[in-house]
Symmetry: C2
Subunit: 377 residues, 2 copies
């Protein structure tokens, strides 16, 4: 071929696959912006639907909160009968992330063709919490909780899942989480979606692939490990000994380090702030003590590694504090990330090119197929 | 960062993402091998299950056909009740590719954890034709056809879909098609699966993402266009005028050209041979006349382009000839490709590294969020 073959690192680390104008991850300085706006301006108190508007359309809404968008998303919460039928048909023991993937896939019924539209995006974002909440309550044999049109997108999710009206502090905290997890440049789930969209397959197919990737523990599938670690440590005075023992056995501490950030993840700082406003004081004190001891121990063990608290750590504390059970941590991350996925689908469809890399063949060549004797007829 | 940033072409064309020992696509010379065996040795008359064994395990089976594997796949054809429930729940108007994606996703119910195994692969390969055939017959309001344990994998698929015992010539032809479409190095659906597996998500999640990508018309989603083109042309004597008119309007001809091959796609040659053994002579003559005229016209229009007949062209003729309706062309391609997907999932899980490329941010920076006036409460 005329073009040279690039031998990239496995994992495509630092390989630039194209341009994007959605979010900017500044790994060296610890910055994250959405459409040019610093998440420090957005995460604490901006109405959630305003950030959805920003990410999908590229600009802030003209009113605050954007009433049309609030209504549009709320109108999608009531599911069509075939979606309800698929929820009822699924094995109730299916883990929620797998169920959400199947249910989002079932929304892709041929009625939302390529190219993706903002309207299709609202359908995905608006329906996904209902799919998840209805499935989870059914699998627990709890009565279904119908959506409440008076509640915002995030508050309604907590309501449909728990059947209890969330407190304003819980709503603010989970809205902050949803804003902070809405997009993060290129990552495995967003990339899976872009590969799918690059074949001119549709948004719901792309979101299904993204959910398939987000489930993996290396990507989105393990935030509950932080809560389990905190439970195991139990109290602040046990933190130093537990961590030292753990590192001595060459085992991992959860919630520290991120491929993209060489300084503290800005989302971790903001989620810590959010946790202060909503967490049980004892749990928060435990989390802070474990964080201090863990960072000190990790830095002693690897002074050059620049390890910091990552987004997973205080995510776990925030999600616990708004009453979410641990098996809902990754699916809740997925609901937040649907917004970024829609933005990336819309961007991929603008000047698309099929994403199709190459591999280097390292197997045998020139083998001869065995001549078998006459077998049974 | 210490490592240099590689600015790759959009589409990752010619970017090598790693090593693979499954299939070798020799784009310059027109060769394709599976595990070192030339497809010209495999496509005409090798029992299908022997090639499945080869691709999944890396070696030919010790007996011919491999009776254990034939039995293993046959045993997966009867679906568990929850899979049947999801089939019944889906909107019957869902296009078959979307339905197959949702149904494969529903098989991923938490019972097949990462890492992928050959056994899980047999479950995927063995169940997928039943999922598709049951869904399609139900959507047509036809009685379901139970699997026939006396038939091989491919013959049973035709039986369950049509309720008619296929002829030996049809079975041989479709087995050849299944063998030729089983794997093709790196491609968008296989890559989507590998991105998903790289997060340590499971095989069924990966296959779901692959199905999402294969649906796109740029990848697997448009082989029926060839049949439609042949219908429109209607007879060999109209081919030259139709093609000249079409090219004059700058419209595409379907079934010619492939990013990987600079010579004739070896699968196209073998599918042509297979078509000769099963197609209606008039249809075959039309296809051959259109191919001759199309290649001549394309070469006159772009003498340097090295355009050849691709896999799509005679695939359409073969799939027509075994009695498959056009909306089943892409789903049937998907069934064939499940074998390659399993092989790639197994390979990705060996020495895995998260696949996570980067993007170049081209949007605005440093914007200030508007100060809204006091809104409604």
């Amino acid at each position: 071929m005329a073009t040279p073959v690039h031998t990239a690192m496995r994992g495509l680390e630092d390989v630039v696959i194209g341009d994007s104008a959605i979010s900017l991850v500044a790994g060296e300085t610890g910055g994250l912006t959405y459409r040019g706006y610093d998440i420090r301006e957005l995460a604490l108190g901006t109405p959630y639907e305003s950030v959805v508007h920003l990410l999908l359309t590229g600009s802030p809404p003209s009113e605050h909160p954007p009433r049309d968008l609030v209504r549009t998303l709320a109108a999608r919460r009531t599911l069509p009968p075939e979606a309800q039928r698929v929820i009822d048909a699924l094995d109730p023991l299916t883990p929620p992330m797998d169920a959400l993937r199947t249910l989002v896939s079932a929304l892709g019924n041929g009625q939302h063709p390529y190219p993706p539209t903002v309207e299709q995006g609202y359908e995905l974002i608006g329906r996904a919490p209902s799919l998840l909440a209805f499935f989870v309550r059914r699998s627990r044999r709890q009565p279904l909780v119908p959506p409440d049109p008076a509640l915002g997108h995030v508050a309604n999710y907590l309501w449909m899942l728990s059947g209890v009206t969330p407190t304003p502090a819980q709503v603010r905290a989970l809205e902050g989480y949803f804003i902070l997890l809405a997009d993060h440049g290129m990552n495995a789930s967003t990339f899976a979606l872009r590969v799918v969209l690059s074949t001119n397959s549709d948004l719901f197919a792309g979101a299904t692939a993204a959910l398939a990737a987000l489930k993996g523990p290396i990507h989105g599938g393990a935030p509950a490990r932080v809560s389990e670690m905190l439970d195991e440590i139990g109290s602040a005075d046990r933190a130093a000994a537990w961590i030292s023992d753990r590192l001595g056995r060459k085992e991992l501490l959860y919630g520290f380090g991120h491929r993209a950030y060489k300084v503290e993840d800005p989302r971790a700082i903001l989620l810590h702030t959010i946790a202060r406003g909503v967490a049980d004081p004892n749990r928060l004190a435990l989390a802070e003590a474990v964080e201090r001891e863990a960072l000190a121990a990790l830095r002693r063990a690897r002074p050059s590694a620049r390890l910091y608290t990552n987004v997973e750590y205080y995510s776990a504390v925030v999600l616990e504090s708004v009453g979410l059970p641990r098996e809902m941590f990754t699916p809740t991350f997925a609901l937040a990330r649907t917004v970024g996925w829609v933005a990336h689908a819309l961007e991929q469809a603008t000047g698309n090119r099929l994403i199709r890399p190459d591999v280097r063949y390292t197997g045998p060549t020139g083998l001869t197929w065995p001549r078998y004797g006459a077998g049974p007829p």
